[in-house]
């Protein structure tokens, strides 16, 4: 880790932040498609907001700003938020948007109340906890970067090892279940992996914005790829680059890092949505007729009445 940090043409503190934010972006970019493709982006948002109470509780337990404990707390309450959403959906029969809306606001307000109570308690060590709202990479030290890299690498390894299972279950949950992959296992694995990505990023990007770093790179990459493997790789690259560039830019311009990182990733997504060669808005507007023709004359369907093609919007 040290050689990577020192080899960058940046002053040491900036280099630490850049590598740390890059690792966070990379992990979030790689794991984001797990949520986005399954239509669970906002589920990630509920978990991300759910980290806030855990951060404060971790601080209270540790007595100081002990990062591993605070992140552990964040992970626990994020998982609790996830369980609450799933519980509301399954047991109470709530629609996902309702369940997420309720849990997200409940978890976040709990976090805010805890933060405020702590701030007014006159505890000297607590200043800076509010950075977990919008993110603050400054003050990141090499040990934090190492922690991020190790935990992130474990998550990426897990995704690589279970890639077939995750892809199959995300694409066709019914088929996967019949083929012997229990739904609860997939749900649990995806939730834990998402929680890891969120918890790693919450300090740098912030509880409020972390979901954007999961979603935006995945959206950008989807526009440019036709296979999941390529999508995950590209999404990780977009996330990592946005993380590094955003953190450095924010530091120099004295802007909050979370919003800058998220703005960069979102810009890439918007550009990809507009200008992607095949799937971009521009490409679609330009050749709707050609697309319909190529579809109806495709092999395997040759000579079939072009009913389907004409049915396309």
């Amino acid at each position: 880790m040290n050689w990577l940090i020192t080899s960058l043409p940046l002053p040491y503190p900036e280099a630490v932040v850049a590598v740390g934010a890059a690792a966070i972006g990379l992990v979030a970019g790689a794991l984001g498609p797990l949520a986005v493709l399954r239509g669970r982006s906002m589920f990630g948002d509920a978990m991300s907001h759910g980290t806030l109470p855990g951060v404060v509780l971790g601080f209270v337990v540790a007595g100081t700003k002990h990062l591993p404990l605070m992140l552990l707390g964040a992970g626990l309450t994020a998982a609790l938020a996830a369980l609450a959403v799933i519980g509301l959906e399954r047991c109470a029969g709530s629609r996902p948007d309702v369940a997420i809306g309720v849990v997200l606001s409940a978890a976040f307000t709990t976090g805010i109340v805890l933060l405020t109570a702590l701030a007014s308690s006159g505890n000297a060590g607590q200043s800076g906890l509010a950075d977990y709202l919008f993110g603050q990479p400054a003050g990141m030290v090499e040990r934090d970067v190492l922690l991020t890299a190790v935990v992130g690498a474990c998550a990426l390894l897990a995704v690589t090892a279970c890639f077939r299972v995750l892809r199959t279950a995300a694409f066709d949950p019914g088929f996967a279940a019949v083929a012997g992959v229990p739904r609860w296992a997939v749900e649990a694995a995806s939730t834990v992996l998402l929680a890891v990505a969120i918890v790693l990023g919450v300090r740098t990007v912030g509880a409020v914005l972390m979901v954007a770093l999961l979603v935006a790179p995945a959206v950008a990459a989807r526009q440019l790829t036709t296979r999941l493997g390529g999508l995950v790789t590209l999404s990780a690259l977009v996330g990592g680059t946005s993380g590094a560039a955003g953190a450095v830019l924010a530091g120099r311009a004295e802007l909050p890092a979370g919003p800058v990182i998220v703005l960069l990733a979102t810009s890439v997504a918007v550009l990809a949505v507009l200008f992607a060669p095949r799937r971009g808005v521009l490409a679609r507007v330009r050749r709707p007729v050609a697309a319909a023709e190529s579809r109806s004359s495709a092999p395997g369907e040759a000579g079939a009445p072009p009913r389907e093609a004409s049915g396309a919007r």
Binding site: G174, R222, R227
Partner: protein
């Protein structure tokens, strides 16, 4: 003896090796009401079987319950045994809408999924698997589309790909949920030929949720008429009799308004001429069968 009586024998059917699917007193409830209320049926092995019935009859629910995808009480057997015992010998093609739209995947990758249960989810695929995938794609006529993204294929091409996945599984029982929704007549005929071949020549069994009564009459070996419970279960000519159809479609749905959980457009109406209803429904299915984009 009317088909109605014959269809619901006294006591439980004894599971036997000669059956593709049996259900004994199966009940499934969503929310308040029961979608399936005491379903008992027996589909022999080696047949091309259709599950038919009006919208909300619980056709999809029945096959999902049989495959353990929705909770049910009662008892199912598949291929004469429990689901757990025969999991690898069963292929499932869900309804179009149950598959994630806009997923980055190629046709060949979808078919490759059919090999995972057999090969193991974490093992490297072998040449045997590659050959099986190619053979399946060839057999359903989409081998040229192998590397095309799924979201660029038409409804008919997609269904061919999903059937190819079922073939690649080399399963003894294929369970298909509305395999011809959004498929043009020509593709439907080709796929029906293929399914017939699987049953006649390879002794495989097919259970398909379907609602074009005309093709059921002409092409299927066995039909189950469902409307919350089984109204008839046997050869199509005996099951699709006017009085039974009138009972199923005319008074449907039994037990109050129960929406099909998947919200599919199913049969609405017209007891006077059930075969016509089927045709009309097929047109409706085709109309909403634009490629998923």
């Amino acid at each position: 003896m009317s088909p109605l009586e014959r269809a619901v024998p006294n006591g439980a059917p004894v599971p036997s090796p000669g059956t593709a699917l049996t259900a004994t007193d199966v009940r499934v409830g969503y929310g308040g009401g029961l979608v399936l209320d005491g379903v008992t049926l027996r589909v022999p092995a080696g047949r091309l079987a259709a599950v038919v019935g009006p919208n909300g009859a619980g056709k999809s629910t029945l096959v999902k319950a049989a495959l353990g995808l929705v909770r049910s009480s009662g008892r199912f057997t598949l291929l004469g045994d429990t689901l757990r015992a025969v999991r690898r010998r069963v292929a499932y093609v869900p309804q179009r809408d149950a598959v994630t739209r806009d997923f980055p995947i190629t046709a060949a990758q979808v078919v490759e999924m059919g090999r995972y249960p057999r090969r193991g989810w974490f093992r490297r695929l072998t040449e045997e698997d590659d050959l099986a995938v190619e053979a399946a794609l060839r057999r359903t006529g989409v081998v040229d589309l192998a590397d095309r993204p799924l979201d660029e294929l038409s409804g008919g091409q997609r269904q061919r790909v999903f059937l190819a996945r079922a073939l690649a599984q080399q399963a003894d029982l294929l369970v298909l949920d509305e395999p011809f929704a959004g498929v043009d007549a020509r593709t439907e005929a080709a796929l029906l030929d293929l399914l017939t071949e699987l049953c006649r020549d390879e002794a495989r069994s097919v259970v398909a949720v379907h609602h074009d009564l005309r093709t059921v009459r002409e092409r299927f070996d066995h039909a189950v008429l469902l409307a919350g419970r089984v109204l008839a279960d046997g050869p199509p000519a005996e099951v699709l009799r006017p009085e039974l159809l009138e009972h199923a479609y005319g008074l449907a749905p039994l037990r109050g308004a129960v929406d099909e959980p998947d919200g599919r457009v199913g049969l609405t109406v017209s007891t006077a001429s059930p075969p016509e209803t089927g045709a009309a429904d097929r047109t409706a299915a085709s109309a909403d069968g634009s490629p998923d984009r």
